[in-house]
């Protein structure tokens, strides 16, 4: 539906046929974009036009489109998930852009996140880190009564703040070291703050950090870019906690 509010955008999009193919930026002009559309609905509109013209659509990752599954990514004008604070790409709306804007759209880039096609990347490295310790080793059926242990609301709330991480990888993508410290610290913090996480506290932090290093993620040099772009507002105080956990596990 055309409306006077609708705008024309100049898109520069990363196109890459497969993991091993060479990629390049391609320009597209897209007309009649509704400001009420989400960013990914704008991409849908581009794809419908490309298919109609006989071109391949732009492949990008997305799923829930509610900002919670962590599947969507995209570097939008050089910033993961675009210009809005604490907003995933799927929750970014086109009213944040203006008529005639140039929008540069690239995949998240980091050595541990190879591009699979166009804007789709492989983030299984994050799962591999989780496999090294991002859990409490309690088997099904082996749980005590839920109310047996009281947990201070303050700790529980802090744990919840950390647990909000959606695993999108924007912290890695924005970091000049491609560090996954914010991601790792979120899980380490959540479980270190809760009584259930105490038994494996030391092994968890040592194993997760070791795996992170092995997979080619860098270290943290306190630039705070991760905190600035995290769509869930995960704070770098978690990285401070991770460092304390790591120190005490390594030293004592």
């Amino acid at each position: 539906m055309s409306s006077s509010k609708n705008m024309t955008l100049n898109l520069k999009v990363w196109r890459q046929k497969s993991k091993d193919a060479e990629g390049k930026m391609v320009d597209y002009q897209l007309k009649d974009v509704s400001p009420d559309s989400s960013f990914l609905e704008m991409m849908d509109q581009l794809n419908e036009e490309l298919i109609a013209k006989g071109d391949d659509p732009v492949a990008f990752d997305h799923d829930c489109r509610e900002g919670i599954c962590g599947m969507c990514s995209l570097m939008i004008n050089g910033r993961p998930h675009g210009p809005e604070d604490e907003t995933t790409t799927c929750q970014l709306h086109m009213r944040k852009f203006s008529e005639g804007d140039t929008v540069v759209i690239e995949p998240f880039r980091a050595r541990p996140f190879p591009v699979l096609r166009d804007l789709i990347i492989d983030r299984t490295a994050l799962d591999t880190i989780m496999q090294a310790g991002g859990f409490v080793s309690v088997n099904t059926g082996n749980a005590a009564e839920a109310s047996a242990v009281a947990i201070c609301k303050c700790d529980s709330d802090l744990a919840m703040d950390a647990a909000s991480c959606v695993g999108c990888g924007s912290c890695v993508a924005v970091c000049k070291n491609a560090s996954a410290m914010l991601f790792v610290s979120a899980k380490v913090s959540q479980l270190a703050l809760l009584p259930q996480g105490q038994v494996e506290r030391r092994d968890r932090v040592l194993n997760m950090v070791k795996k992170m290093d092995e997979l080619g993620f860098g270290n943290c040099t306190n630039e705070k870019e991760c905190e600035a772009v995290c769509p869930k507002g995960i704070k770098i105080t978690n990285i401070a906690r991770l460092n304390r956990e790591y120190m005490s596990a390594a030293l004592f």
Binding site: S18, S34, D36, S37, S38, E41, D44, E48, I51, G54, D55, D56, P57, A59, H62, D63, C64, R65, G67, I68, C69, G70, M71, E84, E86, T87, Q91, H93, L116, R117, I120, D122, R123, T124, L126, D127, M130, Q131, G134, F135, V136, V138, T140, G141, A143, E145, A146, S147, A150, I151, C152, S156, A159, M160, A163, S164, G167, Q190, L191, Q196
Partner: protein, 641 residues
């Protein structure tokens, strides 16, 4: 009415309170040392699939798990906001296993199986224990104890929550349990791999054919049992609150291989979704039902009243849910709230640009409890609403409208969660058993985890111990044939090279489904849908355009395979809706209502499960009936007044 011979629900005998314990004792066990000899394939890594894969691996079975996303942490269970029910009775307000059972059967409008629902209520408390032990940060009060909130369809507070992200936290709990087992090589995890067919050998489900979504390669996978936990089929409507990749293909293809499809017309419309903005809308976003705890639903009393809500004085507002249902008020079940919103809009009292919305107002809650309290409870939901609509719900009432959200129908299962195909088990939203014709809020998470953590680990063991499994290989004829058919399907789709996109057809299907198989249905409309859907399907197979090849990451091909199935499943839904000439829960037939426009059941004719058997392409499926007996919750007209 008699139950079809093909539908033995295998409900244990004896009083309902003792059935599960008795059954657990009577089921055969697999010796710990022998468990590693048995293998299971789990398709889907949401709450049901993730919890099943982890629990089975912990027991020692060899597990292969599949998901279509890039990680097992992304399944759409993650989007559930409000909470998970359990009969803990921590608030001391009169809850019990019996009351949760009773509420769920009544809320489902007497179309669920009592024995399954009782077991669900029974294991609900263990789920909370397990989740707390995994380190899930449930909401707590200042004493450090677990907090509860209330939800639609219940008069007690039994809902546990983790802010507005309960589904996320529970899923990450199941995911972490899975990762623990993947790290130990007890689960072989396949990401970005989609099941395209079920393989049956000598009458037993023994494997699947999968398509690697990155390379396009078709692969064969064998096991001693197959578990589908692939969620619902709400995306048949194109616009729904489901994730973009949520689809009905796994269950539909199992249906084509002999699993009966039960009550496909039972779909749930969620009353509190953000209204659509225009043509480019790709999906709908739900606002948690928990908002109805504090938000008051209203429309202007005058028709076509276009004034700003703040300019409409109190006496000119109609808080219609509180007026019509004084005892449940804004907390009536979902189907009742949805239909009433539609009724108001049909009377031209709807608000917003399209007139297809009602107000959900927090003014009084903010006045009563203070801004900070409301923010603490619903902050993230309010933020989400503002991001999408550009309006501040602390200042202006939210606008909401119903949308397709959940499908109570699904593959038929017996008490052991086994389908009509031996060795094929169905968990979570993908099966039909626990929610009848309407699911209560905060019960989907409960059911997914009940099936995965506390039911399948027992019933699958019994299946293994009671059967003999001949040695097979993936070179078996059934695998070769299924792979051939899968390849032919993608080749056929790619060869069409038509003019219209997959989304074009999906949208057209969605329009027909919403119009005629949506919130209110009638004979003429359903007959129209049964004419229209095959037409769209025919055109799809002649004129769809899918660029690229089958040997690469091809997003249009992925979608096309799923839409091709929706184009058949939609017809089955309409057929089932047409033949169920009664209203119950989410299935509302215009012809069957009380004088007060409430759903009117016909228990004499329809107190049954309608399970459909596939009979081949172009042939009418056969309907089998399972009679539903209500021995513990007496049949009565639901009333929330």
């Amino acid at each position: 009415m008699t139950t079809s011979k093909k539908l033995d629900a295998k409900i244990p005998s004896g009083p309902i309170q003792e059935m599960w314990d008795k059954h657990r004792f009577e089921m055969k066990l697999v010796n710990p040392a022998n468990k590693r000899k048995y293998s299971a394939i789990v398709v889907g890594t949401g709450l049901a699939g993730g919890s099943a894969a982890a629990s089975l691996a912990e027991l020692g079975y060899r597990v292969e798990a599949f998901c279509i996303q890039d990680s097992a942490r992304r399944a759409h269970s993650i989007a559930a906001q409000g909470g998970i029910n359990a009969a803990k009775n921590y608030p001391n307000d009169g809850d019990s296993v019996w009351r949760l059972f009773y509420d769920t059967v009544k809320g489902g409008d007497y179309r669920s199986r009592e024995a399954n629902v009782y077991r669900l209520a029974q294991v609900s408390n263990s789920i909370i224990d397990q989740c707390v032990a995994q380190g899930i940060p449930f909401g707590r009060d200042y004493s450090g104890m677990l907090d509860n909130r209330s939800f639609g369809g219940a008069q007690v507070s039994r809902t546990f929550y983790a802010r507005g992200q309960t589904g996320q936290q529970l899923l990450l709990g199941a995911y972490s349990a899975m990762m623990k087992e993947v790290g130990k090589d007890k689960i072989k995890l396949h990401v970005r791999k989609e099941m395209v067919d079920l393989v049956i050998i000598n009458g037993k489900a023994r494997g699947i054919i999968a398509r690697d979504l990155v390379t396009g390669k078709i692969t064969r996978h064998m096991a001693d049992a197959v578990i589908l936990a692939t969620g619902g089929y709400g995306n048949a409507y194109y616009l729904s609150t489901n994730a973009m990749s949520s689809n009905g293909s796994a269950v539909y293809r199992a249906y084509k291989k002999g699993a009966f499809f039960a009550n496909p017309c039972f779909t749930q419309i969620h009353p509190t979704c953000i209204p659509r903005h225009g043509e480019s809308q790709s999906k709908l976003t739900l606002m948690s039902e928990s908002l109805r705890n504090d938000g008051r639903v209203w429309v202007p009393k005058k028709t076509n009243d276009k004034r700003h809500p703040s300019q409409i004085p109190e006496e000119e507002r109609d808080y219609y849910l509180e007026r019509i249902y004084p005892s449940f008020g804004n907390l009536v079940p979902r189907d009742v709230a949805s239909r009433n919103a539609k009724n108001q809009c049909d009377e031209d009292k709807g608000v917003g640009e399209t007139g297809l919305a009602v107000n959900l107002d927090f003014r009084d809650a903010i006045k009563r409890d203070g801004l900070e309290t409301v923010k603490a409870k619903y902050g993230n939901l309010f933020d989400m609403y503002e991001r999408i609509t550009d309006e501040d719900p602390y200042q202006v009432p939210m606008r909401i409208y119903p949308a397709i959200h959940y499908t109570m129908g699904g593959l038929w299962v017996d008490y052991n969660l086994m389908s009509t195909v031996e060795g094929l088990f169905i968990l979570g939203e993908a099966n039909f058993s626990d929610h009848g014709a309407n699911r209560l809020g905060a019960s989907a998470l409960m059911q997914g985890l009940a099936d995965g953590y506390f039911v399948i680990p027992y019933t699958l063991g019994n299946y293994f111990a009671s059967n003999k499994f001949e040695a097979i290989t993936t070179d078996d004829e059934a695998f070769v044939e299924a792979e051939k058919i899968s390849n032919q399907l993608t080749d056929k789709l790619l060869a069409i090279k038509g003019k219209l996109t997959v989304d074009h057809f999906h949208k057209r299907l969605g329009e027909v489904m919403w119009e005629y198989v949506g919130m209110a249905r009638n004979e003429a409309g359903l007959k129209k849908a049964l004419k229209e859907i095959p037409k769209i399907r025919e055109e799809f197979w002649q004129n769809v355009r899918i660029p690229g090849s089958g040997e690469e990451l091809n997003i249009e091909l992925e979608k096309a395979c799923r839409v091709a199935d929706f184009l058949e499943l939609g017809e089955l839904m309409a057929r089932d809706a047409l033949e169920r000439v009664e209203s119950c829960g989410g299935h509302f037939r215009d012809e069957s209502q009380t004088d007060e426009n409430e759903a009117l059941r016909d228990d004499k004719k329809f107190a049954h499960v309608a399970a459909w058997e596939y009979k081949g392409e172009g042939k009418k499926p056969t309907k089998h009936l399972e009679e539903l007996k209500f021995e513990y919750v007496p049949l009565s007209q639901r009333s929330y007044k």
